[in-house]
Structures are given as structure tokens and as C-alpha cells.
């Protein structure tokens, strides 16, 4: 592995390799063994985020530090849309300074691919537009693996704004590769029919789908969607597509609820659903550090 721009091209064995290493890092992190390790001593990792981020950025920072790498936060301005060519210029300059890996988040889909093709730095996609967010999918997979010990045959229901979600895309690609059955649901304006070409089943009866699911993955609904005319209101969304107490009661006993965060409480999840015994949302965040350690390790420790 040289870059991690997406999970689309990752083979199942490669995903399993990342998860295996991540699991061992998970144990190390949670046992408060002596950190940092020396795995990436002398390596330099840059964080270049053109969009706001709390957990992803902090998680990459922590992961790189845990492995003994130096981290520079490049403090990219995220107020203006920066054109591809100047991002490339930035990356080439960082390469000249000896940077080993660059973690990039950008509102334009395809920026990580562009940088990966045109620089010699290891590129890690921390979210590009509505395209991919591969480390999120990998940490989600680790959470599922810890819970079920397998992927094949699991029923995954992803609910919400499929049109604009990079988390959904990465998870669909990865879960398909690992043999899970992926269904998607939500308002028709946010669940394009063409999604079925990605090998997912589009569901219409939410209650039935919830009852059949092993994993319920709720996506964040963004405020702009209402302004863009795709949704009448948040309250209607909550009533029709949100998971509330009544819907939690429909779940199988072993089913888990996941969410990439931050949760809009009262919209896609009520507080009671978010903090119910089914929820693995905090566990996902915990796994994020270990997964990103595994990714950095596999890309840089050669």
C-alpha cells in the first residue's frame, strides 16, 4: 500500500490485514502500554484539512503521535474553496520539505487521487467531497468485527443522505467486498436509484428493514439539505426516517446502532437511541485511533 485514497480498489485481504493490525493497536492503546511506540520514529505526517473536523483530525494526530511520528498541522483555511492546482502545489512543496505522509480532507471529490497521482508523498484521504472517507469505513469495520467476528451474511442497513455521504460510499464499497448484505434507505431525494449499481438494495419500508438488520448505520443529515429543497423539514425527517424509542424496540436483540458523528440528536437519532445499549458510537471513535495507526504503519513503515 502506497496511498489510501479510497476503499473502492482495496481487496478483502488487504482490508482484513488493516483490521488485524488495528485490533492489536486497539489492545495496546486501551491497555495504556507505554506510548509512543517507535514504529514511525523520524517520519513526518502532515494534516491538511480544508474542511472542519474534530474527531478525524484529532484521531489522526493521536495515531501518528502514538507511533512516534512528528506531526505538522498545516492549518489550511477552510473558509474558501481552494482549487486543485494550488493544493497540488502545496503538496509538492511539502514533499520538498521531506514530508512522508499527507492526510487530506477537502470539499472537492477526487483531490486525494489528484495528489496521489502527481506527488511522491503517501496520501491518506480523510474525506473528499461526497466521494470516500476510507479510514471511517475501516474503523466501522473494526467495530463490526469486534461485535460479530465476521462480515459475510451480515445485514447492514445504512440510512439517510446517501447522495452526499462519503461515509456511505466507503462503507458500501468495503462491506460489499467483505460479503455483507447492504441495504440503504431514506428519502428518495437523497437516495438516488443509481445507487443500486453499487450493489446495494434500496429499501422502502424502514420498519421492516430495521427489524431485519444486524447493523443500523445512521448518517448525519446536514442543514443545507433543507435549504436545497431536498427535505421539507428536520422534524418530518425525524418522524419518517429517524430512529427513536419505538424503532429501537423493533431491533433484534444483538443489533447495533452506528453513526460517524457528530450526531444531530433529535433528527436521525433520538438521545435515547443514541445512548441505548445497541449504540456503538463511542466505540467507533475509540477504534478510530487504532485504525489510523494501522494505516499509517502499513503506509510508512517499510
Amino acid at each position: 500500500m502506497v496511498h489510501l485514497t479510497g476503499v473502492y480498489d482495496m481487496k478483502a485481504e488487504k482490508i482484513e490485514e488493516v483490521l488485524e493490525l488495528a485490533q492489536s493497536y486497539c489492545i495496546i492503546n486501551n491497555n495504556e502500554q507505554q506510548l509512543p511506540l517507535n514504529v514511525l520514529r523520524g517520519k513526518m505526517v502532515g494534516l491538511l484539512f480544508f474542511e472542519p473536523s474534530t474527531r478525524t483530525k484529532a484521531s489522526f494526530y493521536r495515531a501518528a503521535k502514538n507511533l512516534g511520528a512528528d506531526v505538522i498541522d498545516l492549518q489550511a483555511g477552510f473558509s474558501s474553496v481552494v482549487k486543485g492546482e494550488s493544493v497540488l502545489d502545496t503538496a509538492l512543496n511539502l514533499q520538498a520539505m521531506g514530508l512522508n505522509a499527507l492526510v487530506v480532507r477537502h470539499s472537492a471529490a477526487g483531490i486525494p487521487d489528484l495528489l496521489a497521482q502527481n506527488t511522491g508523498i503517501s496520501l491518506i484521504n480523510a474525506g473528499d467531497g461526497a466521494h470516500e472517507h476510507p479510514t471511517q469505513a475501516l474503523l466501522d469495520l473494526l467495530t463490526i468485527k469486534q461485535e460479530f467476528g465476521r462480515f459475510a451474511g451480515l445485514n447492514v442497513l445504512i440510512m439517510g443522505d446517501m447522495l452526499h455521504s462519503r461515509v456511505a460510499r466507503s462503507n458500501i464499497f468495503a462491506m460489499n467486498a467483505l460479503g455483507a448484505n447492504v441495504s440503504v434507505g431514506g428519502p428518495a431525494t437523497l437516495v438516488p436509484q443509481a445507487l443500486s449499481s453499487l450493489g446495494v438494495n434500496i429499501v422502502h419500508d424502514i420498519d421492516d428493514a430495521l427489524a431485519a438488520a444486524d447493523i443500523v448505520y445512521m448518517l448525519r443529515i446536514q442543514k443545507e439539505r433543507q435549504q436545497g429543497g431536498l427535505l421539507p423539514s428536520f422534524s418530518e425527517y425525524a418522524a419518517l426516517f429517524g430512529v427513536n424509542e419505538r424503532r429501537v424496540a423493533l431491533l433484534q436483540k444483538h443489533a447495533i446502532i452506528m453513526h460517524p458523528g457528530p450526531v444531530n440528536l433529535g433528527v436521525e437519532l433520538t438521545a435515547s437511541a443514541c445512548f441505548s445499549s445497541h449504540s456503538r458510537i463511542i466505540k467507533q471513535v475509540n477504534n478510530g485511533v487504532a485504525v489510523r495507526m494501522a494505516v499509517l504503519h502499513l503506509l510508512l513503515n517499510k
Binding site: E85, G110, L114, A130, R169, A194, L198
Partner: protein, 430 residues
């Protein structure tokens, strides 16, 4: 001075000829076509083993000048046209300033005269500054030489403005060229709303963004009786609508680009901004429908939508890259290789759609090699394979998704009014 084009296979749909014929040219005009013409005292051009065809005519050329000289100039666009076998091109009005009055038309005419290569037919704007509010001075522009009007780059969103402009165009005997795109549907779309857009996570441009405006335009064409020309048709549904409109007697014509005939949305996979254009590349079913429509005449013409952009603009990220690709230097070889050679279109049909019909749509006395017509022609080499190399284009724009494609049918000679302006890829400036 007399020029004899000897031994070539003349393919001229305007006179239903497809056989070996010599062509005699005097003072820039065709004077005789016969099996064997005596060459004594004449300048001989050997066309043995090659095709001789009426010069190609492009209905849709963005020359960028004035205002966009970093992308293309009238001169570089004319050189690219000559290399591609074109003897007539258009100058679309989305320049800076917009070509929306006789002064800018005169300026572009002057630049074209100065270039002294192919004929350049100016196409004026429908509305002032192409802003879609007030009608431009269409009548005066017609006096200055425009052969059509368009607000291309955008459609005419205001229905009343379009209706009035159609009435005006009818009075002055020119077609209105329409870019059909309902912007409230196209939004910030980047490529066809389909499987590739979903995979790449990019906003899509629906087929309905084309057909919704087309439906309205056809109604207004019917009501006004004006000649409405639909630019760059991209969807099977639009083809069906145009077919019906023609069957019911509307004065409607249509064009399709080489890229919409040869590529699908898949070409944009991997964020290939060389395959980013408007309208977007669509699906396999659309490509099939467009090919059939070109063959059966529902679509009258092939037009390049030659849209040069700089390398920096086209090699950034997909979302910042501008829409459009160049086409003048690749159109004929691509379509000859991929439509004529496999038998999807006859050679006569291709030449008709790239020369005769475009001439008729513009209302210019070209697109034929009958005696009496100007000697605007191309000699085409169909025996040798060449590989498209975008870096060798004469256009300033190197933006094409066809780089590296092997093709047959590259023009060997382009002649305008009896003067050879291109030979074996070399431009012979006046």
C-alpha cells in the same frame, strides 16, 4: 490559374458521387469534374488512393477571441480547423466582450480575414451580454454577417425572450442555436446523473435538464415558425422528441458532437476532467440512439463544440475544471474510424452530416463540389493509421479524452477557394 486534383475518389453527397474523378479548379472555383482531365498546363495535385470531399463545416466552434486569447485565438482556431479538414467554422459569441453587436462581429471578421485560412462564420448572441434579459441587436448583426444567434454556454431561460428572439430570427432568415439546459435541474452538476456520478460522489446532471428545456423550445418553434437548431443533443429522449417535431413539420434541425457519439459517462471515471463537458457524456443507450439518429437524419449535423481550455484549468481537480474539450483536429478521423469503418454510418452520410447539411443550416453556398461552387475541399488519407497526439495539436487547447487513439482518415490537404492551406499537417499561411 488552373489546378487539377487528379486520381482521387470524389465523395460528394450533394451530387451523389462516389467514384474516381478528376477535379478542375479555376480562379478558386470548381469548373469541371470528369473521369480524366488533361493535366497539360495545370498545377497538379495528386490525390491517388485518397478521398476528395467537400471541406468540413463546423457549426459549433469556440474561438475564445476576444478576451480568452490564453485559450485560443481566431488564428490558432483557424489553424486547428485547417489541420482537421475544415474549410468553414463558426465563431461562437461567448467571448469577452460577448459578441452581441455589429462592432464585435466586425472585429472577429477582421481577425478571420487577417488569419486568411478557413472561412469563419460569426454567430451572434441572442441576448445582450448573453445575460438572458434583453434581446441583442440581431438584425444589425445579420447585416454584419452573423449566420445564426445563440446564448450557448447557457440556454435562453426566459420563455418570452426566446419567443421574441425566434420571431426576430425568422424575420432575418437565420436559425437560433439553442443550448438546452434547464439550470434549476442541472444545478452544480458535474457529469451525467448516473452510475459514475454515484460512484465518484459528484453531483449529477440529469437527462431531464436537457429535455425539459427542449420541450418548451419545440413548442415555441412551432408557434413562431422560426428555424430552431438544437445544439449538442445528448440524450435518447431528446432524439425522440426531435424526431416527432420533424415529423409534424417543425423547422427544427439538430447537431451532435463526436464525443457524444463515441463516449459514455464511464470516460469520466477516475475523475478524468478531459471527459468533463456540457452536456455531459451519457449512457450506452444514449450513444446508440444518437448514432441511429445521425444515420437516419433526425440529427442533421456533426458539430465539434470545440472548446479549448488551458492545461492548468483542465488538469486541476475535477470539480474546478471547466466544461468542454477541443474537437476540430480529431472529429473526422474519429468518426471515420469508429462509425464509417465498422459500417454504422456510410461515408456519404458522414460527409453529408459534416459538410452539406451544416452548410444548409448556416445558409452558406458551400458543402458541395459541383461546378460553380468555391473549391473548398479536403483530401483524406484513409489508408494509413495515425495516433492522436494531443500535444501536437495546432489548437492552443490540448484538452481531449481521445489522446492516444489510433485513427484512419486524417486529412492530407485542406483547400479553401482553390488555395492549399494545409498539406500533411503543415499550415501554409497566406
Amino acid at each position: 490559374m488552373e489546378i487539377l486534383i487528379q486520381g482521387g475518389t470524389l465523395v460528394d453527397p450533394s451530387q451523389d458521387v462516389y467514384e474516381q474523378q478528376d477535379i478542375l479548379i479555376r480562379d478558386g472555383f470548381i469548373v469541371q469534374i470528369a473521369q480524366s482531365i488533361d493535366s497539360a498546363g495545370k498545377t497538379v495535385i495528386d490525390a491517388a488512393g485518397k478521398l476528395v470531399i467537400p471541406g468540413l463545416i463546423d457549426l459549433h466552434t469556440h474561438l475564445r477571441e476576444p478576451g480568452g486569447e490564453h485559450k485560443e485565438t481566431v488564428l490558432t482556431g483557424c489553424r486547428a480547423a485547417a489541420a482537421g479538414g475544415y474549410t468553414s467554422i463558426t465563431a461562437l459569441p461567448n467571448t469577452n466582450p460577448v459578441m452581441d453587436d455589429w462592432r464585435t462581429v466586425n472585429y472577429v471578421n477582421m481577425l478571420a480575414d487577417r488569419a486568411g485560412l478557413v472561412r469563419v462564420w460569426p454567430v451572434g448572441a441572442v441576448s445582450k451580454n448573453s445575460a438572458g434579459k434583453e434581446m441583442a441587436e440581431i438584425g444589425t448583426m445579420v447585416k454584419a454577417g452573423v449566420k445564426a444567434v445563440t446564448d450557448d454556454g447557457r440556454g435562453v431561460a426566459d420563455a418570452r425572450l426566446l419567443k421574441n428572439a425566434l420571431l426576430y430570427c425568422k424575420q432575418f432568415g437565420i436559425p437560433l442555436f439553442e443550448h438546452c439546459e434547464e439550470e434549476s435541474l442541472a444545478g452544480d452538476g458535474q457529469l451525467h446523473e448516473g452510475v459514475v456520478a454515484v460512484k465518484l460522489g459528484l453531483p449529477g446532471i440529469s437527462s431531464s435538464s436537457e429535455t425539459v428545456m427542449l420541450a418548451r423550445d419545440l413548442l415555441l418553434a412551432e408557434e413562431s415558425g422560426a428555424h430552431l437548431h438544437i445544439m449538442h443533443v445528448s440524450t435518447a429522449k431528446a432524439v425522440e422528441m426531435i424526431r416527432q417535431a420533424k415529423a409534424s413539420g417543425l423547422n427544427v434541425t439538430a447537431e451532435v458532437t463526436p464525443h457524444h457519439l463515441l463516449l459514455t459517462e464511464e470516460a469520466a471515471d477516475g475523475y478524468n476532467s478531459m471527459a468533463k463537458m456540457k452536456p455531459p457524456l451519457r449512457t450506452d443507450a444514449d450513444v446508440k440512439a444518437l448514432r441511429l439518429a445521425l444515420a437516419d437524419g433526425t440529427i442533421d449535423a456533426v458539430a465539434t463544440d470545440h472548446a479549448p481550455h488551458t492545461e492548468a484549468e483542465k488538469t486541476g481537480d475535477f470539480q474546478s475544471a471547466p466544461f468542454g474539450i477541443v474537437g476540430l483536429e480529431t472529429a473526422f478521423p474519429l468518426l471515420y474510424t469508429h462509425l464509417v469503418k465498422p459500417g454504422l454510418l456510410t461515408l456519404d452520410q458522414l460527409i453529408d452530416r459534416m459538410s452539406c447539411r451544416p452548410a444548409a443550416i448556416l445558409g452558406v453556398p458551400h458543402g458541395s463540389l459541383k461546378p460553380g461552387f468555391a473549391a473548398d475541399l479536403a483530401v483524406i488519407d484513409v489508408s494509413n493509421e495515425q495516433v492522436i497526439d494531443r500535444h501536437s495539436f495546432l489548437s492552443k487547447g490540448k484538452n481531449t479524452p481521445f489522446d492516444g487513439w489510433p485513427v484512419y482518415g486524417v486529412p492530407a490537404i485542406t483547400m479553401v477557394a482553390g488555395r492549399v492551406i494545409m498539406k500533411d499537417g503543415i499550415i501554409l499561411d497566406a
